[in-house]
């Protein structure tokens, strides 16, 4: 690792800590700690939602998949773009208004509890699901971050894990939501910059887009085709990822934190544009990679420590997911390489911090305050939130100490699990006055169980379909049927009508 790269990287980490310390002095109560006091500007909310959502997949997974198999892997990008847009379009404004009207709800379980006037069961079950899955989700992010540190700096995996954990936990612990949102904003900007700069420099280096297409065609003509050879089931499954957005607590909490409902349209535009341009950057980084790596001398690649395998005379990276890292090492000055490397870690950190905060919010607001200490002071709740951040991060780091742990496989169900369990519930609760608490409860259970059974135990034919699709569908059906069998209280109906009035104001 070049010293200039290392110094740039360390400056980035110190900057993140600085934001945490600055926001510590702006955090006075639990609403500040878990929701930034609902004062988030649209640009910050948009980039924060995007950065929390994307994780290392945007800079490692997607370019790697396109590099290895071509445009056929771009379907998921389309599904996610549409899903993220619909989330902003249909959920953001209503959720912002509803959560404020409904007893100023500050977490997703808090909202569900208040929306259906159920102070315990619905809230606690939702909070438990969040706590369980996000602890493992956080843990999996820590593994990815530590592996990046390990590969980039030559540190041992364990040392890398604890350095990364200490930095993320420090700023989340101190500055809560404000620190997380503002670090996400900086991290999202870095990711965007990296995803625009890398493919542009790469295509210039190759000699133009047509030259890159020609080179890729000569190596693997199938990589140019997004349709032929990709099964209908695979396309539907990839597009279905977009359904997951409506139920991701760490993303929709950004909508609740917006300064005003009137900020939603501009935030939607910023968030959508950021995400789609970033996805294009990732797609073309992977695409250019095949032409670029093959055109390089193996001895040059080896000098950078890049592992190369040669198949039928074609040089390929040993690990396709390192294509973005390979570009940063070969094409850029060490200082710029440090910034680009920081962008990859940013993608990972911005997801870890958000999930960590959503989990600690669940402990402070939905367990501690809701069950044990209804009259807890603001100061006390903030400190419970901070301690929860610390404890959850510690548990996640301990799990991450063994990167081969099978418990981390749970993460593969997390996106579908949240999407299928909470997605229809959030949508229906915002748009359907007749929805009842029992309908919501049954829907969450059916959605979650469908994902586990479909994804874990059934396979072949229709069961190869991504589990979020049947989970989402069955949840919706069950929620509607159960809700139609009873009637919501007059208080719930009146509150719903109040929300509609406030949305139109």
């Amino acid at each position: 690792m070049d010293t200039a790269t290392l110094v740039t990287f360390i400056i980035y980490l110190i900057g993140m800590l600085g934001i945490g310390i600055f926001m510590y002095y702006r955090t006075n109560d639990l609403s500040d700690y878990v929701l930034g006091g609902r004062k988030l500007r649209p640009g910050v909310a948009a980039l924060s939602a995007g950065a929390s959502d994307m994780s290392g997949w945007l800079l490692l997974g997607l370019p790697g998949a396109i590099y290895a198999t071509g445009f056929g892997e771009a379907w998921m990008a389309i599904g996610l773009s549409i899903g993220a847009y619909l989330n902003w379009q249909f959920i953001a404004k209503r959720l912002r208004v509803y959560t404020e009207v409904s007893d100023n709800s500050i977490t997703v379980p808090d909202f569900l509890g208040n929306r259906f006037k159920d102070p315990y069961l619905l809230r606690v079950i939702s909070a438990l699901v969040i706590l369980l899955f996000f602890t493992f989700y956080t843990s999996s992010g820590m593994v990815a971050g530590a592996k990046l540190f390990e590969a980039s700096f030559g540190l041992s995996y364990q040392t890398a894990l604890w350095i990364g954990t200490i930095v993320v936990v420090s700023y989340t612990f101190l500055g809560g939501f404000l620190a997380v949102a503002w670090t996400d904003f900086v991290q999202g900007s870095l990711m965007f910059l990296a995803l625009i700069v890398v493919p542009i420099v790469a295509v210039t280096e190759i000699g133009g887009i047509q030259e890159a297409v020609q080179a890729v065609g000569e190596i693997r003509p199938d990589n140019l085709d997004m349709v032929t050879g990709v099964g209908v089931m695979a396309i539907i499954s990839s597009l279905a990822w977009g359904l997951g957005y409506f139920g991701q607590p760490h993303i929709i909490v950004r909508f609740m934190a917006l300064r005003s409902k009137n900020d939603v349209p501009i935030a939607k535009f910023i968030g959508t544009t950021w995400m789609i341009l970033g996805l294009y950057g990732a797609i073309f980084t992977g695409f250019m990679g095949l032409a670029f790596i093959n055109s390089q001398d193996v001895s040059i690649l080896s000098a950078y420590g890049i592992e190369v395998v040669t198949e039928n005379g074609v040089h390929m990276l040993g690990d396709p997911e390192k294509i973005f890292i390979a570009f940063t090492q070969i094409l850029f000055h060490p200082i710029v390489a440090g910034i680009l490397l920081a962008a990859i870690l940013s993608a990972i950190m911005s997801t870890i911090d958000s999930q960590l905060l959503v989990s600690s919010s669940a402990v402070a607001e939905d367990f501690y305050k809701a069950i044990f200490r209804r009259n807890a002071t603001d100061k006390e709740l903030v400190w419970v939130g901070r301690m929860a951040t610390l404890v959850i991060a510690l548990i996640a780091a301990l799990i991450a100490m063994n990167p081969e742990s099978s418990v981390l496989e749970l993460v593969s169900y997390a996106w579908a699990g949240f999407g299928a369990a909470f997605g229809p519930i959030i949508l229906l609760s915002l748009f359907w006055q007749r929805m009842t608490r029992n309908g919501a409860l049954a829907g969450i259970i059916v959605g979650a169980l469908t994902v586990i059974v479909w994804g874990g135990f059934l396979e072949g034919g229709l069961f190869d379909l991504y589990e979020i699709l049947p989970g989402f569908l069955f949840n919706t059906i069950v929620t509607v049927i159960i809700s139609l069998m009873e009637k919501p209280s007059a208080q719930i109906e009146a509150e719903f009508a109040d929300v509609l009035t406030k949305i139109k104001e």
């Binding site: 445009f71 771009a74 379907w75 990008a77 389309i78 773009s81 549409i82 847009y85 902003w88 379009q89 297409v213 020609q214 890729v216 065609g217 000569e218 003509p221 140019l224 085709d225 997004m226 349709v227 032929t228 939603v264 349209p265 501009i266 939607k268 535009f269 959508t272 544009t273 789609i276 996805l279 294009y280 797609i283």
Partner: protein, 34 residues
């Protein structure tokens, strides 16, 4: 042999996602007018 990106791939790759950006601009303008 000269290679190019197939027409259908062009359509799927460069129509839906930019269309989403256009939609976000249009809805932004409409909501601002309201």
């Amino acid at each position: 042999m000269e290679y190019s990106i197939p027409a259908l791939t062009w359509v799927w790759l460069f129509v839906p996602m930019p269309l989403v950006i256009v939609l976000s601009v249009l809805t932004w303008i409409v909501e601002r007018r309201r």
